[in-house]
Structure formats: structure tokens, C-alpha cells
């Protein structure tokens, strides 16, 4: 046993003990054997083993190089395809991927140089870059996810604003459309909480929570003024324009060149009343009211809505009655009557 190195076994008796064990091992050269016979037996096996090992190592090198090459080529190809191919364009983002379904007619989807047609019954995911255009000769009706149904007049053009999905598993929805050209009729489903659906025009932001209305961009050559025209068929719409908010209720219009000349807006069917209310007399046209009177009705109606949403049904019923008493044939009357029927139901 070699000593003098690696010794921190200070106790020499311990080292001596280990030495005594090591010395018990057989020492010296192994006894002579028939080396030639052994050589004859082992060497061919070693040559064969060397040849096998050489093949194995070479094969492993080839496989490794091939896998490296394939990985590099595959990675590069995937990067190129992703960046330049259709996957790149359809790359999902937090504000993309909401689905539209064409219900009637044909709709053109424009994204820069790409333009593709969606026919009735077809659906597609769209992102914020795409615009929806109705053909020149006919209407197109399309459902925007579960949010709204949009009917575009011929040659009308809208862009979409897609809201991020509220949850990882939830589908993205639309939060707005941008009216670029023409006229759009919208039926927006009832939204909850603080949700609003917007129709954006160059000069206004039309906000709704669940209603049916028209928004039109009026050309300066066709009407008395250029800009946005809003016609509400049902519910209440808020129009934010020039820093002011205007509440537009069912039957009312905002920004249209001539209210009387506008297409007649069908009055909503009266809800099945459970309480006795004076039946409204039908008038051919909504009587004109002063701006201050309309503002008061709007305020009353909005306060009643807030009371209804807050669960204060008694207060809401009283406010709806005040709206009806003030203008029984006014633009808010039908909606007030319907809402009054709802809040007056026994609970």
C-alpha cells in the first residue's frame, strides 16, 4: 500500500489496519498461463467487437447529425411559415378571433390586399384588422358572436372591435363596430353588468346595453347635414358626441336630417299588461316636443331604469307612471309602459 499521500488518517494504527487488509490481497504477477491459446480465443472476438462498435458509433453520429439538421431545418421552416404564411395572419391575439356568421346575403371580408366572401350559413373568425362590407346590390345580415345581429344596407362598410375573452376558456366577443360607410341596423342582445356595445362613427359613439336601432352615416349631398344619424326602435341608446351625452329612446332619432321624413320606425308591440293602463292612441307620427320636455322625460326614464336595476321596483313604477303621465304618446311611452308592466308584477 502506498502511503504518504492523502493521509489525514492521523492515527497511524488505522492506516496500518487498512494496510494489513490490503496486504492480504494476492500480490505479484498472476501465474503464467497459455497466452497464445488465450490470444487465439480473445483476439477474433475483440476484432469483431471493434468493428461492431465502429458501426454503432458511426450510426449514432449520423443519427445525431441528421436530427440536428432536421431540427434546424424544421425550426427555420416553422419560423418562416409562421411569419409569412396564413398562420401568421391568423395569429391569435388578445383582441382577435371572434366569430361572425352570415345569416343572409353575402358579406365581403376585407383585410388589406385580401378579400374573401362569406355566404349565408358560413362563419369565420375575424380580428380588428378586417372590415365587413355588404355587396352593392343587396343587404347582408350577420351575427357578431353572441353579441349582436347586424344588418348592413347595400355597399355599407363596418370595421369590428373584438373584446378580449373574459376567461381563458371563453370565446372572444365583439365590443364595437365602426361604421365606415352606409347604414347598419343592429339588434343587440341584453348585456349585463357594466357592459356596453358601441357603434363608432367618425363623429359619435353610440352606446347600448341591449336594444334595436339604426345608425347611418348621412352624406352631405343627401341630407341637410353630414354625420351620424341614429334611429332607435326599442330601448334606450346613449349617443356621445362633441363631449355631450344624449339619451335617445324608442321612436326617437338623433342627428337625422329630417325626423318626419325619416322612414317610419315600427313601434314595438305593447307588452302584455298585467295592470290596467290607459291604452295609447296610435298617431301617424310622433308629435314634436320641446327639447327641454324630452330631456325631462329622458331623465325620468333613466332614473326609473336605474331604480329598476337596483331592485327598487316601487320607485321605478312611480317614475314610469310619471313618464306616461307627462307624455302618454311620447317616444318613451311604449317602453315605459312595458317596463311598468314588468316592475308591477307581484313578487
Amino acid at each position: 500500500m502506498v502511503t504518504g499521500e492523502g493521509e489525514d488518517l492521523r492515527d497511524t494504527t488505522e492506516l496500518g489496519k487498512l494496510s494489513s487488509y490490503v496486504e492480504a490481497l494476492p500480490a505479484g504477477e498472476p501465474p503464467p498461463r497459455d497466452r497464445a491459446a488465450r490470444r487465439r480465443r480473445v483476439v477474433p472476438a475483440l476484432r469483431a467487437h471493434a468493428a461492431r462498435e465502429h458501426v454503432r458509433v458511426r450510426r449514432r453520429r449520423v443519427v445525431r447529425r441528421a436530427s440536428l439538421f432536421m431540427t434546424a431545418v424544421g425550426g427555420a421552416a416553422a419560423a418562416v411559415m409562421f411569419a409569412a404564411g396564413p398562420w401568421g395572419r391568423l395569429r391569435p391575439s388578445s383582441r382577435a378571433g371572434a366569430t361572425i356568421a352570415v345569416l343572409d346575403g353575402t358579406l365581403w371580408l376585407d383585410e388589406g390586399a385580401d378579400r374573401r366572401a362569406l355566404r349565408a350559413g358560413e362563419a369565420s373568425g375575424v380580428d380588428a384588422k378586417e372590415q365587413l362590407e355588404a355587396p352593392a346590390e343587396r343587404l347582408a345580415r350577420v351575427r357578431l358572436a353572441d353579441t349582436a345581429t347586424l344588418t348592413l344596407d347595400p355597399a355599407s362598410l363596418v370595421g369590428t372591435v373584438v373584446a378580449a375573452a373574459s376567461a381563458p376558456e371563453a370565446a372572444p366577443t365583439f365590443e364595437a363596430v365602426k361604421l365606415v360607410r352606409g347604414r347598419a341596423h343592429l339588434q343587440v342582445r341584453k348585456l349585463h353588468g357594466g357592459q356596453r356595445f358601441h357603434v363608432l362613427t367618425p363623429d359619435a359613439d353610440v352606446q347600448v346595453r341591449g336594444t334595436e336601432f339604426d345608425v347611418e352615416l348621412v352624406d352631405s349631398h343627401a341630407g341637410a347635414r353630414s354625420g351620424t344619424c341614429v334611429r332607435v326602435e326599442e330601448g334606450l341608446v346613449a349617443v356621445v358626441a362633441a363631449g355631450a351625452t344624449h339619451l335617445v329612446s324608442a321612436g326617437q332619432t338623433w342627428g337625422c336630417p329630417d325626423v318626419q321624413a325619416a322612414a317610419p320606425v315600427p313601434a314595438p308591440a305593447p307588452a302584455a299588461a298585467v295592470i290596467a293602463l290607459p291604452a295609447p292612441e296610435r298617431h301617424a307620427a310622433t308629435p314634436r316636443m320641446s327639447a327641454s320636455d324630452l330631456r325631462l322625460q329622458n331623465t325620468l326614464f333613466q332614473t326609473a331604469l336605474e331604480a329598476e336595476r337596483g331592485g327598487r321596483y316601487g320607485e321605478a313604477a312611480q317614475l314610469y307612471r310619471r313618464v306616461l303621465a307627462r307624455a302618454p304618446h311620447g317616444p318613451l311611452a311604449a317602453q315605459a309602459r312595458s317596463n311598468l308592466a314588468v316592475v308591477s308584477r307581484p313578487r
Partner: protein
């Protein structure tokens, strides 16, 4: 530099004989083997066979019935490490052969130790043949056998790298610098392994001795 002694392959294969009377360095042999020259395997045999046999004789004893097979396995392992490039050329082929063979010997001891635990807790017949010649008294011979058995069991029980350091240094006589070069560690690390390995081996042996004393008492 070893002098090459050429021999035609005993199996008469067409791989061709090694160049006769040529002096080949370790580097040349390894390069030839890596290039697929089968004759280089024959040269390897000539160069390291005695080292392999000596290590196995020292660690496993002269009466080990598997020594020839283990020697062949060791030679095959040496060839495999050279062909695959694991041989770092930081040492001579003979030193490399020592390292590989003692690895194999320790593996074999561990494997036998496991088998004994599973199949037979008594001392196997092979261990009785560990000491080739003992012209001392029978009691002395029995004690020597016990010591060898304990040492080998201890080496197969402790941490492998530490056991390797103890075997290379204390049994096969390599110095720390050689061990460091062979195992690819610093001299300080080799020294640490050696010191710890010795302690672990001694602790194991001491435990065995105590058990024996309790058994006798």
C-alpha cells in the same frame, strides 16, 4: 512507446493483419481503431492484456473462475471507450486499461455482493479461493481469507468514486496525480476521495469486526 508485435488474425478474417514490426504510439492505435481498422483491436490486446490480467488477479484473486471472461469484457470496454471517443488521451493506454478494469472489478464485486445478499448469506466458495498460495498455518490462511473478503465487501459497499480512489492508490499503487488524470478531476479532489474512501472502508471493516466479535462472544 511499445513495440508492436504483429499477428495474423486467428480467425482468418479478411480484415488483414496489422503492420509488422511497426512502432505505434497509443495515439496511432486509437486513431486506427476509431477509423474502423480491426487490426488495432489486436494491438490493443498485445499492449494492455497483461495490465488487465494483473488488476483482475489483484482484486479478484487467482482462483476466480470468471477472470478470463472478465478480462475479455474489460478489453471490450477499453475498445468501446476508444472508438466512442471517451478515452481522453490524457494518460497512457495502460493506465486507461487499469482504470477500466478496476471499474469492472468493482462492478463485479458489487454484483456478487448483491447476489450473496439475495441468494446466500454464507461465504461463497469463490471467496475461499481468493488467496492462491498460503504456506502459513491454516488459521492464518483463514484469517487472510476473512480479511480479503471484508476488504472487497467494503470496497463494493462504499461510494464508487471513493472506492475507485482507494483501489487505484492503495491497491494498484497509482499516485494522486495519475488518479486525477485518469478520473478527470483535480489532484485535490482525488485526495479528498481517497481520504474519505479510506475512512468509509475502515468504518465498514470495523463494523464487520465488531459483528464478528459479538458473534463469537
Amino acid at each position: 512507446m511499445a513495440v508492436y508485435k504483429a499477428h495474423r488474425p486467428a480467425d482468418g478474417s479478411e480484415d488483414g493483419p496489422a503492420p509488422r514490426g511497426t512502432e505505434l504510439s497509443d495515439e496511432d492505435i486509437c486513431r486506427a481503431l476509431a477509423a474502423g481498422e480491426a487490426w488495432a483491436a489486436e494491438v490493443i490486446f498485445d499492449r494492455v492484456e497483461d495490465v488487465v490480467d494483473g488488476v483482475l488477479f489483484r482484486l479478484l484473486g487467482p482462483g476466480d473462475g470468471e477472470r478470463d471472461d472478465l478480462a475479455q469484457q474489460a478489453l471490450e470496454r477499453i475498445i468501446s471507450t476508444i472508438v466512442s471517443g471517451k478515452f481522453s488521451h490524457g494518460c497512457s493506454l495502460r493506465s486507461w486499461a487499469t482504470l477500466i478494469t478496476q471499474h469492472l472489478a468493482i462492478d463485479t464485486m458489487r454484483s456478487r455482493s448483491r447476489e450473496r445478499k439475495v441468494f446466500d448469506r454464507s461465504v461463497g466458495p469463490a471467496s475461499l479461493e481468493l488467496v492462491a498460495e498460503d504456506n502459513r498455518t491454516p488459521e492464518r490462511a483463514a484469517e487472510t481469507r476473512r480479511r480479503v473478503e471484508r476488504l472487497l465487501t467494503a470496497l463494493s459497499s462504499v461510494n464508487r468514486q471513493r472506492a475507485e480512489a482507494v483501489v487505484l492508490h492503495d491497491i494498484l499503487g497509482h499516485d494522486l496525480a495519475e488518479i486525477a488524470g485518469l478520473t478527470g478531476v483535480t489532484v485535490a479532489a482525488a485526495q479528498s476521495r481517497l481520504v474519505r474512501g479510506r475512512k468509509e472502508v475502515l468504518r465498514f471493516i470495523t463494523g464487520q469486526e465488531k459483528e464478528q466479535r459479538h458473534g463469537n462472544g
